[in-house]
């Protein structure tokens, strides 16, 4: 008696799954399989340009929230959030003395979700200054600046300065009383430096008073110059964390 085995018909779910995830096009985008095995999980991280900021494995203490409070990651997350909301605000904002303030009012009243975008941008900016300061304190109190991470601490100090400058240049853009006088007070401090103060202040605000040239200079620095510079330093910062073997841990 010979029994022939009938090929089992596969459930519909499996066939749909195969059709979606096991075809030529999908494979051309995601080269590793679904990350449900350790091998594929490591490949998912290592073969993805965004995820490969991470190593594939990490020490278990570093996943504990209280070890870092996510502060460095939070700073980066806020930078990304500020970039997105900032680009949306740029669609409606013209940095000229005639239009800036009216554009701000339009963003708040006429633009759909404009107020929300502006609020998000403002609160995330304050949040980023706080997050960067607290990240610095976390790194100090966990002794994470020690060799071989000395220079990455220096890069971090540069990023702190860039964060403050980004926030400061953004402060002028609404062109209301708060902006004008905050920037006047702030740039007067620069002007008080011995010998080079006045020339530096002149270059920074493009004149003797905070006016039209200061607005366009601060705008350009705020939306292009400083973010690019910050991105370069962040690249170095993250790269060096990886090269130095991830977060510091006890010997």
């Amino acid at each position: 008696m010979v029994t022939t085995e009938r090929p089992e018909s596969r459930p519909l779910g499996d066939r749909v799954y195969d059709a979606i995830f096991h075809n030529y096009v999908w494979r051309s985008v995601f080269r590793s399989g679904y990350p449900n095995t350790p091998r594929n999980q490591m490949l998912a991280v290592a073969t993805n340009v965004f995820l490969h900021l991470h190593p594939t494995r990490i020490h278990r203490t570093h996943v504990k929230i209280t070890h870092t409070f996510c502060l460095g990651g939070l700073s980066f997350f806020l930078f990304l959030g500020l970039t997105i909301t900032g680009v949306l605000l740029m669609f409606y904002y013209v940095p000229s003395v005639e239009r800036a303030y009216e554009d701000m009012q339009r963003i708040q009243t006429d633009v759909r979700f404009g107020m929300l975008m502006r609020n998000l941008h403002r609160w995330m900016a304050h949040g980023m200054v706080l997050a960067v300061l607290m990240h610095m304190m976390r790194v100090f109190y966990t002794g994470a600046y020690k060799p071989p991470r000395e220079f990455n601490w220096v890069v971090g100090v540069v990023l702190l300065v860039l964060t403050l400058l980004l926030s400061f240049t953004g402060y002028l853009l609404p062109w209301d009383e708060l902006s004008l006088w905050a920037i006047t007070v702030g740039t007067n401090m620069v002007g008080s430096a011995p010998i080079l103060g006045e020339p530096n202040r002149f270059v920074l605000i493009g004149g003797f008073d905070v006016g039209a040239s200061a607005l366009i200079r601060f705008y350009t620095l705020h939306v292009v110059g400083l973010p690019l510079l910050a991105a370069v330093f962040m690249t170095v910062h993250f790269w060096r964390i990886r090269r130095d073997g991830g977060l510091a841990r006890p010997l």
Partner: protein, 293 residues
């Protein structure tokens, strides 16, 4: 978990290796990526909620002819603006922040010990050092601000039932820093010491000539006294802690100095933000009124 044969190993090298063993490690996908995703969602939600509830301020259109009183910088520069009230603007606005940032960046080059990294306040005495730095920094800054605001005169008047104006004329130079310049009979010649344009050769850099006419009492009050406080007091603190045997290692001194710096930074920021009202005078924060233009 560390397996038992490794835990039993005696040599430090083996112990170090066992800690780094694969057993102690997790896969980034899913364990870290998941945490990152959840925190990104949480922070997006909470910032959205905050933005729905509280609107960013937009005041009247900028008007260069109107100066609001007080006019303040953004909050993270109010520490510098607070300093500005007590010393020469060049010192407060440029030199102090530059030196502070340079000193901050230099921390890892002074403290190079490898022990106890990657753990919160793990060196022995770390908590003590943090507490000492924080307390001395906060109290010292508050006392200095109160002294320069002549609040000890007010206190004396309250305690003795006198009027503030009755402060003994002999002690007028103790009113605040500026009174050292104004209320001491300095020789008149000290107020104008002509050094000419030969000392600072700014013309070599293509800049306008600087005719130096030194006002010695002013230099004393605006530069020498603040610098000696800002450099001397932290050094004195470290010296005392070292002589008393409380601070023993470089890391101890670093923690004291860093904690002190953070405390001073926060105290100055809080003072500049909440306790400075009209004319940047000191007020209780419930008496500080919004700026009038």
């Amino acid at each position: 978990m560390v397996i038992s044969t490794q835990a039993a190993a005696q040599s430090p090298a083996v112990r170090a290796r066992s800690r780094r063993s694969r057993e102690e490690e997790l896969l980034v996908w899913p364990d870290l990526v998941f945490v990152e995703f959840i925190s990104a969602v949480l922070f997006t939600l909470s910032f959205t909620l905050l933005s729905v509830l509280i609107d960013a301020p937009l005041q009247d259109r900028a008007n260069p002819a109107h100066t609001p009183d007080p006019s303040k910088a953004p909050w993270y520069f109010l520490n510098l603006q607070e300093l500005l009230l007590h010393m020469h603007p060049a010192l407060a606005g440029v030199i102090v922040p530059t030196v502070a940032l340079a000193a901050l960046a230099a921390i890892p080059y002074f403290d190079r010990s490898l022990e106890h990294q990657g753990e919160w306040l793990a060196t022995p005495r770390a908590w003590t050092m943090t507490a000492i730095g924080a307390v001395v920094g906060t109290v010292g800054t508050i006392l200095l601000i109160l002294w320069d605001g002549q609040k000890h005169v007010v206190l004396w008047a309250r305690l003795t039932g006198h009027d503030v104006a009755e402060w003994p004329a002999k002690l007028n130079w103790l009113r605040n820093a500026r009174s050292i310049q104004n209320n001491i009979a300095w020789p008149e010649s000290w107020r104008h010491i002509p050094l000419g344009s030969k000392v600072l050769r700014t013309d070599l850099l293509g800049l306008p000539k600087v005719d130096l006419d030194v006002n010695l009492p002013a230099v004393l009050v605006e530069q020498v006294i603040p610098v000696s406080f800002m450099v001397g007091l932290p050094l004195l603190l470290s010296l005392v802690l070292w002589r008393l045997g409380i601070a023993k290692t470089r890391r101890d001194h670093m923690i004291v100095q860093f904690s002190g710096f953070i405390a001073v930074f926060l105290t100055l920021t809080i003072s500049g933000t909440f306790f400075r009202g009209s004319g940047m005078e000191l007020f209780w924060f419930w008496d500080v009124k919004p700026a009038v233009s």
